[in-house]
Assembly symmetry: D2
Homo-oligomer: 408 residues x 4
């Protein structure tokens, strides 16, 4: 449904051509300084019209905060917000009326509801994500202020063009010799450095949001080629979350990666998710894949490698959390397509209208938002667990290795 | 937490060395014929000791149904069930007491709870999955009887050894020429046939549960090599769900693939999930990736290809649903590992105990179970939507393409 | 939190002096004709300024529908809506700044959040109920169109003045002789007729919304007396729901009356809830209290009496559902009160501002709304159960009295 | 459904004549000392056969803890537990086969599920409450150890016989003179003392669990009279919760009293709930009903009266929480009843079997258990809110009366 989260919840409404899209954010900690600008920044990174790589619709996407804030400080009560739909041109898509667009949500919405919006896919519209981005910006504000948590996403591939030094395996030839255990280190030093230091400002220097000059230029050409061919192309987004406390995640069904995967796979056009070494890690023997422990400078344990992506047993371990999401090539293309009408009649669909030839650059803030929502919700829950347990008298009857030393 | 589902819910308890593991299944439709044997079959496929590829613990894993059934028929009330832990040897793992096992849940459980079971990772034990498998078997029984739904999972890779003709891209060389749009069809005719026809009986003919003789033999060797080296190896499981009605999935946060991904990523040792063309599909232009519609024999629309994996816009479209899950190499290995103790002291851990060198063969019924739980829950919800909407008077004021024709 | 419901959900935001109050209604069946007027009617019944018995604030409370509707028909997607706060006078309450108002939410909001809105009780404002009423009106539209369900609430007491022929026991003297089993029939023929036939139009003929001329006039005097004394007075609202199908309610924790009680006790100022014979019924022996079955004209079973209030074992039985809610006397009064400041300093609080001396007349549409939300949500869930079970092959192996005859 | 709670959850299974009844308690804080005896004590208070006032079934109700505990200390993982059904005599109720028992759940279970257990009402059996009581005992153990919270319930009325000095209004004559504001103080000094000091040991000294010798004796006679007449009688249970921190409750839909009411109204045979002054308080003008603030010895604010019952604006204020629940007269009686069969045929039902003529004495530990579950869950949630907010930098820009002073 349209609500996400347990203690920190976002509920969204709205589609392409209605009066507005919006969200209610419930459970925001009180006492947080919050302005419309805090939200606007990420909304503006999401909106179309930012470069020639995206759809030419120049939507302003100005956020209007409605409640839950006084004197610039959150009250702990729900924050209502909305963004008006300024560009309402419902007839733009009218040629598609007889045809369900291939791989779009037209057909499935009609199957599910027995009725669909005139624009077709209803809530599968990218505009639906505005509420998520706004909610994520609020969560993120807290996470940064209280924990110094940083969330940075970037484009790691467009079509077959990949960022070097990523967790995308540089070569993964099939059916290799079974004796070959040599691994291509998915976590090259360059990639670990990138994960540790990359900022949003650096990401935004590139129209593709791929933080590597040469690769970004090749991606740009690839996207323009798709655009000129009235075609589309997919890609992947990688995201890192830094400074997350250890202990987040709720076994067994709400493990951290399960909730994170849920969140990411709810973003339109996503078809794949992996955390840490992901699919590639399945090829690496345990003896090499295991992250050895080492004492960190702050006295806590850290790991020398981070194949786990910051999550072990479904619970965060304090290392950087990184993951990758696959976005399929957009279904709406201007090329003609041989397909069938709703009633089964074969025919050729020629779609009009504006669309993005590649969504991954604009998906970056959406991924960051969903990441923030997951961390925020899991943090609240773990704070409940931890503070509640801390009120019990210390356990003294257990073997020392069964309990956390220096329990505060 | 330990409950999964909205209208069809499973709640589980238990870890390795307690009295029993079990589950409560709530929301099972009344009037379903159900016997312990229906559940036992899948439990037995999950349990260790089935071949020399798995751990030698020969647990009987006999299920005891407690409630919710009379005269062999479900009542609609919760079904309690449990499996006794016959093999309780808590001291088997005692050497690990000073060391958190690398990449295991020892460290994170201690961080989360401030306390951990003597066996270490608590609920991260594979034994926790017994409740899931039992619950899944019940869901599956309904799905088969009422809808003819079939769920078949199989091992699609072990380490670098892959089933030919799978949705695992056979070659995915990085940084290819940007003009190269030639795609390696991830959905070869052989793979589509496999998806359409494979049965569990065929899968179980192979100790690896990879339904391809030559590949299975190579996998067997790979696993034995890991075992002999006191090492471990990961792999992937692919699963197909057939005959799922169109319309399942709850936009926007509970899209079908989001809930499915959530379910799969809650299985121990999973690190990656993709549906349909997955990551590979991000490289295929929309013009090739789009699934064109065609009239099926039953009069409904189908698609000529199925890159979408049976889900569009987060809602099932009636085509086969297929997806792949990556399982990391098991963290528990018998090799000595240089690491650190809980207090940071460097040292060498030599783990003892029994463990699987490769979990994917045993993971097959777990994947099937989680798939059944997702389909069952989404089916109940969609039945609510559909039957409730059907009681309204027909809509006559909308353009004909906005409403489902022949609405009953 | 601010979301209510499982499959039909309302989420609300807003307090007294922010930009707007609003709601998102998620899970509304598609294909329902819906206009702003459908919602406005109930909002107007709720708003202040309707008579000299309520607060003089004349708020327009015009609803603005944002999404989820096209061509006047619901799409099945979330319906966003909002009502602007036209009368924003935050300083009106400034004298209370040093004092937590006795029995108001000022103190507890501050304890909970560590911060509170300048107006004091934040979301405890009666304005918060606008979102509920709007959502309830939408639910009610469906319930009426699809099932002919009618929901009518009315004022059954103000202070000690009670509607004759109600389920309020006319005399309940304490410590009566233990041999006295004579009961004052709480369900007099007049009351049953009232429950069966009363309409909202009839209720609205009286400024008190108590549908009995003489009693209403006495209540009016009582309220005016409270007003003139700068005091306040409480009361009760009784509500009947007609034509609810049998089978609604989800044992064991979400029994129909549990969810209904939850809904009603979430309305501001409520302190008591009873269904059917309620507290009075505890005094009636089972032999008299039991509702005997009888064949109804439609062939189904009905009951000759209805002490159960339409719910048995937590599940609706098809009879009229009726219940009563107690609203305490409003905490905000204009009289001076000897109390203490936040810091404990004793003093005298003289509150200003506008307030209702008695809230029950305006509470009527709020009670109706919450009732509609409960029935709608439970109906969706039961439709899921029923339609899902109906797809199984008929059970033939059970004793005939264990299964529903004539199962369609 | 059969799960209750957000962060502290209980899920139950089982009915009268299946193998066992049981529960899974999820979210119990780790580090709590817990033994079977902690749970058994309350189970034994609940079980039948304790006196000649209850059913003669002497069920042992021994609890078997399955998981989540090691060395007598909770691990934070789910606690599975079960109680075997030793007394399984399904044919005992066979005469009822043709008749739905009046006011019992036989008819509604059949309507809901299309099938019912041979014993009739399925989960409406009192045996279902065993899981609740066990779960509540665990919650209570934490609440006592960490906060010194005390929960004591007692019988406040049987039929028309009432405990003097209770919150049950001693006389509530209808249609009194409208000028009469004289109130019968529902909170007499005796009652406040009782609430403040009563212990379970004192309650258990009386077979009726009404802590007043003369009243208890009269109640005993009343119950025996019902028993001898093959009839039944209802009653009320009052409960007090002491030492609950201020700040619990989640506006607006999960206000403390809403969740508490939900919990209580899910107990079998309950029909009414009121908190604080309840229905009686609706008759008291605000000027008398308001609880004035005063500085308490610990420096915090307290109230001079406690009409609110410890909850204001849906949030606890630190005062004693007290509430009352109405239990209808048991539906199962041995008297013959003129009623109809399932198929509508009129006839006379003569029920056999064992039943309680009055359930309120045994309901006492069930009420305590549900109270503990609510407090525990709300406490975890509020701990999440409070500890999360406390990590933000102090707010310095707000008017001092808007923020909590001395914020740690």
């Amino acid at each position: 449904m349209s609500t996400f989260g347990t203690l920190f919840r976002v509920t969204t409404y709205g589609e392409s051509h209605c009066a507005s899209v919006g969200a209610i954010i419930d459970g925001c900690p009180p006492g947080l300084k919050l302005s419309a600008q805090d939200v606007q920044t990420q909304l503006s990174r999401r909106r179309p019209g930012q470069s020639n790589l995206t759809t030419p619709r120049d939507e302003k996407d100005l956020v209007h905060l409605q409640s839950g804030i006084e004197h610039g400080v959150t009250l702990g009560t729900p924050i209502g917000l909305l963004v008006k739909n300024e560009d309402q041109r419902p007839h733009d898509y009218s040629e598609t009326d007889l045809y369900p667009r291939p791989s779009h949500a037209d057909y499935t919405y009609l199957q599910k509801y027995g009725i669909k919006a005139s624009s077709g896919g209803g809530r599968s519209s990218a505009r639906e994500t505005i509420g998520r981005v706004a909610a994520g910006a609020i969560a993120e504000k807290y996470l940064k202020e209280a924990h110094g948590i940083e969330i940075v996403a970037f484009v790691s591939s467009v079509g077959k063009i990949r960022l070097p030094s990523s967790n995308v395996p540089p070569s993964a030839a099939a059916n290799e010799d079974e004796d070959d255990d040599e691994i291509d280190d998915a976590l090259s030093p360059e990639f670990r450095t990138l994960l540790a230091t990359l900022t949003r400002e650096e990401v935004d220097r590139f129209p593709t949001r791929c933080p590597h000059l040469e690769t970004s230029e090749r991606m740009t050409k690839r996207i323009i080629r798709a655009k000129e061919a009235k075609d589309s192309i997919g890609g992947t987004v990688t995201c890192v979350i830094r400074n997350v406390p250890a202990g987040l995640g709720e076994p067994v069904f709400d493990k951290f990666e399960a909730k994170l995967g849920h969140a990411m796979l709810s973003i339109p056009a996503t078809k794949a998710f992996e955390i840490g070494s992901g699919f590639h890690g399945t090829e690496v023997p345990g003896s090499k894949h295991n992250d050895r422990f080492v004492r960190r400078e702050d006295g806590n344990l850290g790991t020398t490698t981070n194949w786990s992506g910051g999550v072990q047993g479904g619970i965060t371990n304090g290392e950087d959390i990184y993951f990758r999401i696959g976005f399929k090539s957009p279904a709406t293309i201007s090329q003609s397509q041989d397909t069938a009408q709703y009633d089964g009649t074969p025919g050729t669909l020629v779609a009009r209208g504006r669309h993005d030839p590649c969504v991954v650059p604009r998906a970056v803030p959406i991924v960051e938002a969903m990441a923030a929502l997951v961390v925020m919700d899991e943090l609240l829950i773990q704070n409940a667990r931890k503070s509640t347990a801390s009120l019990l008298p210390p356990v003294t009857t257990l073997p020392p290795t069964m309990i956390l030393p220096a329990r505060e």
